[in-house]
């Protein structure tokens, strides 16, 4: 997936087709957009099957399916549509609360809450997704986003409560500390890869665990642990170091703005800077890049530093924006989800941004689905994983839907390589 994927250009036709036929033909070819949408659709279908299979009430109605098929089908449909409607209401907007706002019975906060939740979940994922994406473009598979964001969260968090600085400056210092921490944790595998050829997949997986264990030790130490608490939780971040957020019930904070800026920055690095040119060259063909006079080792190291810094920013965003304290779960799964986000965004910066927002929407909607219908939040994990499986196996989607091959979309190309 390191190669540039180009949208299928309009095929040069022998006899001129009307715009509509051309459009329809391209629509049903295996281009990036169609495959992405069909992947999401397939994942939702499998998710629906899981919802039904795991509901004992509906399942018992399938017991007498042959005599009264209507019962089973109706209640299945009701269950699925209710669950997915909640997914939408929790993620985008709830018509009821918007209606209430217009009528004056509800608040504008309630109307915007779903979007706010989506963007809150999306913000750290943008950073970790970008971290994986930029490393991918240079031919490195950064599974260490989790560890890097944990170290980023530690550094950002400690800078947030251990020192006190004026408004503005404190926040900047805390964010920079997070980026530096992540960069350090990214430097290690990059350096090892460059110097000894140690495979970054292994070293970063291992460093994830080391970071998690270090965090679980650190938050029990005096000076870090909240003196009023006996459980593993740190002091609260100073007010000056917290990312500014919208008024109270809404949680969305400045992090999403920073995430968009970071996306633009990464897009510039990859496409416009000389380092970006080098990393793409190294990603496509290291020996050729070396022959052309680039230092592969230096590129690998610097690339992992940049990737680590991005993931560290994700961890810092999480602790400075939403969590406010360090706990063992402060980074949640943002590193691993960043991996999926990058794959879904096909390793391009803006694609990653949209993929992160989609994942944020799934997480936000999943919460409502769990509360309202009682469908476990784990379904969202399944959906997220399934979407990426289908995205990563376009040949499978192509076979299922009998898509015609797109002219130049390099969907099948993967970065397959060994250890």
């Amino acid at each position: 997936m390191t190669t540039e994927e180009v949208e299928a250009p309009p095929a040069p036709e022998k006899k001129p087709d009307s715009f509509v036929t051309l459009f329809l033909r391209n629509l049903w070819s295996a281009n990036t957009v169609t495959v992405t949408i069909l992947s999401i659709f397939l994942a939702l279908v499998i998710g629906a099957v899981l919802i039904v299979v795991s509901d004992s009430e509906v399942l018992s109605q399938f017991g007498y399916f042959t005599s009264r098929p209507g019962d089973a089908l109706n209640s299945s449909w009701a269950l699925i549509s209710h669950a997915y409607a909640d997914l939408f209401k929790g993620a985008i907007f709830d018509p009821a609360s918007v209606q209430a706002w217009i009528n004056g019975t509800g608040t504008w906060q309630a109307a915007f809450n779903p979007i706010s939740e989506t963007l809150t979940y999306a913000a750290p994922l943008v950073f970790t997704g970008l971290s994986v994406a930029i490393a991918f473009r240079g031919g490195l598979f950064n599974i260490g986003g989790q560890g890097q964001s944990i170290i980023g969260a530690i550094c950002g968090g400690v800078a947030g409560f251990a020192i006190s600085l004026p408004v503005g400056l404190h926040l900047i210092v805390a964010i920079v500390a997070g980026a530096v921490g992540g960069a350090l944790w990214g430097f290690l595998p990059g350096f090892l890869k460059a110097r000894t050829g140690a495979h970054e997949v292994i070293t970063t997986i291992m460093l994830n665990y080391v970071a998690l264990l270090f965090l679980s030790w650190l938050i029990l130490q005096s000076g870090i642990q909240d003196p009023n608490r006996t459980d593993a939780i740190s002091k609260t971040i100073g007010h000056n170091a917290q990312l500014p957020a919208l008024p109270a019930p809404l949680r969305v904070h400045l992090g999403i703005v920073l995430a968009v800026l970071a996306t633009a920055g990464v897009a510039w690095i990859i496409n416009r800077s000389s380092f970006g040119f080098e990393l793409r060259a190294v990603g496509v063909n290291p020996p050729a890049a070396k022959t052309a006079g680039m230092s592969v080792a230096k590129t690998y190291t610097l690339l992992m530093v940049v990737a680590g810094a991005l993931a560290g920013l994700g961890g810092a965003t999480q602790v400075l924006g939403t969590a406010d304290r360090l706990t063992a779960q402060v980074a949640g799964q943002i590193g691993f989800n960043g991996l999926l986000v990058a794959l879904l965004g096909r390793n391009r910066p803006w694609g990653t941004l949209f993929a992160a927002i989609l994942y944020g929407a799934l997480s936000a909607g999943g919460n409502l689905m769990q509360v309202d219908v009682g469908v476990s939040l784990e379904l969202v994990t399944v959906l997220q994983a399934l979407i990426v499986i289908f995205i990563a196996a376009p040949a499978l989607v192509k076979a299922i839907f009998q898509l015609r091959a797109a002219r130049s979309a390099r969907l099948g190309a993967s970065m397959a390589k060994g250890w």
């Binding site: 598979f141 070293t203 291992m206 665990y209 030790w217 592969v296 969202v380 499986i389 990563a392």
Partner: protein, 426 residues
């Protein structure tokens, strides 16, 4: 002396120079000297002069080896240094591997003398716990050996563990039979392996990517079904029977080895027998030769008529069965119920054991035992002795050891040449 490089552009990482002074034994020797000095300078002064007892039983009683804590720490540290110096000096070259192993063991003894001083360490229960922790790692790493020797990277061991653990709990409870549970676990592992195989071999998806995603898929599906089925009605779905411990008459009375190896569960014996069987089969059978050929040079193997993809399917599926059985450990042995994400990254340690053990069955066994030992030690030192070293740092040991191993400091590890490369007929 000028070394004329004949390296082509493909040799990126190493350009071999003839016999440098700091060759591998010397670097290792220097490493051993450094850890020995660390033992003398750190463990020695910190150790108290109280007696450290290593009892040959499961508790504080019975026969024991005793030594003063500080004496032991200094003594074993000194032995480590001597061994390192021998390696540095380059004497008795054929014994270097033995020196290295003994050096590391004496270093561990020095550390133990410091930690255990004024207390006791029950050798049998430590060994028992080591095998206990190592059991799933052995099975998981063997699954990896099968897949990767034939050229399919298996990062989905964690997912196979989880699915195996889940299926073992579910089937075991429904059938109220531990053996039905074990079969369920095998099928659960095969399910994930089949997805891995189809996506990686048929649809040519990047194998590391598909492995990582399958782990998440298994995590999601088992977690989802756990919350929807098992949590509301655990008596019906989540109370699997416990795997019985059998002892072999006669053999189980042998001191130390008996209680550890011959008073155990069937799963442990299966794991140990599989290590021997796979080792033998890889080296001596037609299947083994073909597997190695497919993993190193699939095109050549295809040319002489080996069905590359078919063999890869077979191996990945057998691997899935073995890893699934490893998953049964979590619900049928270690605990008595399934829980969300209960494997907690054991699959990744199994992956590390596979690489640490250089893609060989016995290497994997050794690495799994080493990781099991550090886990058991961390557990005992924090719970039993109240060690001054935080157990989080002891728990880091397997991960740090793996980083050291893949960084080539303990010797180069080399994966099968075609590992992770999908095979397409051109």
């Amino acid at each position: 002396m000028i070394h004329v490089s004949t390296a082509t552009a493909e040799d990126l990482t190493e350009v071999s120079a003839p016999e440098r002074f700091w060759n591998r034994p010397r670097r290792l020797g220097a490493g051993v000297v450094i850890i020995g000095l660390l033992a003398i300078c750190l463990f020695g002064p910190l150790a108290s002069s109280k007696t450290a007892r290593f009892t040959l039983s499961e508790d504080s009683g019975g026969a024991a080896l005793s030594i003063n804590g500080d004496v032991g720490a200094y003594l074993f540290g000194a032995i480590t240094v001597v061994l390192g110096v021998l390696m540095l000096a380059g004497v008795a070259k054929r014994w270097h591997t033995a020196f290295l192993v003994i050096g590391i063991v004496t270093f561990v003894f020095s550390f133990l003398c410091w930690q255990v001083a004024g207390n006791f360490l029950p050798v049998v229960s430590i060994a028992d716990g080591t095998f206990d922790f190592a059991l799933p790692l052995i099975l998981g790493a063997l699954a990896g050996v099968l897949g990767e020797r034939s050229g399919v990277v298996n990062v989905a061991i964690e997912g196979q563990f989880l699915m195996g653990a889940f299926a073992a709990a579910l089937v075991g409870t429904l059938a109220t039979s531990v053996w039905a549970g074990l079969i369920g676990a095998v099928l659960g592992g095969v399910l994930i392996a089949a997805l891995l195989a189809v996506l990686a071999i048929r649809f040519l998806v990047d194998q590391v990517v598909v492995g990582i995603v399958l782990n998440l898929l298994a995590l999601g599906i088992t977690g989802f079904l756990y919350e929807r089925l098992m949590q509301p009605d655990s008596a019906k779905y989540n109370q699997p029977p416990h795997m019985p411990t059998w002892s072999i008459p006669g053999l189980s009375n042998i001191p130390v080895i008996g209680p550890v190896l011959f008073r155990a569960t069937l799963l442990l014996w299966i794991a140990l027998i599989l290590v021997f069987v796979i080792h033998f089969a890889l080296r001596r059978t037609r299947w083994g030769l073909r597997t190695r050929a497919v993993g190193e040079h699939p095109t050549a193997a295809d040319t002489v008529g080996v069905r590359v993809r078919g063999l890869r399917y077979t191996n990945v599926l057998i691997g899935g069965a073995i890893a699934g059985a490893g998953g049964a450990y979590f619900t049928l042995m270690a605990t008595s119920a399934f829980n969300k994400n209960m494997t907690g990254g054991a699959g990744f340690i199994a992956l590390a054991a596979l690489i640490f053990g250089r893609w060989t069955p016995f290497g994997a066994l050794g690495a799994a035992l080493f990781f099991g030992f550090t886990q058991q030690l961390a557990y005992y030192l924090s719970a039993g002795v109240g060690s001054s070293v935080p157990n989080q740092f002891l728990n880091m040991l397997p991960y740090l050891a793996t980083i050291v191993a893949v960084a080539g400091l303990v010797g180069r590890v080399r994966a099968p040449a075609a590992d992770g490369v999908p095979y397409t007929k051109s």
